[in-house]
Point group: C2
Chain length 161, copies 2
Amino acid sequence: MRMAIQDCYPDELSHCYGCGRNNPGGHQIKTYWTDDGKDPGSETVAHFLPRDEHKAIPGFVYGGLIASLVDCHGTGTAAAAAYRAAGREPGSLPPLRFVTGSLKVDYLAPTPQGVTLELRGRAVEIKEKKVVVDITVTADGKLCARGQVIAVRMPESMAPK
Amino acid sequence: MRMAIQDCYPDELSHCYGCGRNNPGGHQIKTYWTDDGKDPGSETVAHFLPRDEHKAIPGFVYGGLIASLVDCHGTGTAAAAAYRAAGREPGSLPPLRFVTGSLKVDYLAPTPQGVTLELRGRAVEIKEKKVVVDITVTADGKLCARGQVIAVRMPESMAPK
């Protein structure tokens, strides 16, 4: 995927603090396929360099930030996988926009600051209204966290009026 | 507890983006006992008003922020409960400082913006090196999320030099 899935979201659904291009103060996380994204085993990737203030203990990244990265890379991967499963172009209307139903993160090792983190995602279950995404977070090749996001199609009640 | 547990942490362990008083750009989450904190069933409470930018979809709070609040209220509750279990004054040395081993959040309903969120925590398992904390997040009395934090004693390898 040349474009990040988040850059294919409609403008009115692009204000997320984690990944919205229309949220200038947010993290603006970008999720890409690592290949052409056509294979059920295709992985997604995102990169993020935490700011100095994103610390837990000096020298180590704040776990809440890691959870935020997992969250948005999870819903992004869910959207990308749902478009693929439907045989549709990413961003084509009506939008396939997912929100987080459940988030789990296991912190396996302290995550060093000053390093660009790599998130890898894989959709392990894809249904029309629910996609499960497994995620790893590495720093300099070292596995620091594993996450799982249960992403659900955005309910109508959340749609901007 | 008159003081927040986070305000009892030593200065060098108070830089957390979520709850450190020495992180001016952070969330500065504060965890208090709801009573004198001496009962095994005592609950903790924290309040937080998300900023406008902390949105997912316009009108609704970003799930990654909710995960961050759960994270720090969880480790804070763990520290408070560990001091209580040890019969020690909060903040007495050596510090009982916990970090997150595992974090799980179930998002039960979209969380409205513009409302001060209330987090309630309860330590459901207390061991020397591990405390499990259950947390609820409500907005205007409505239950929006449930979380569980498995907090572990901060390893020596993370201690500031």
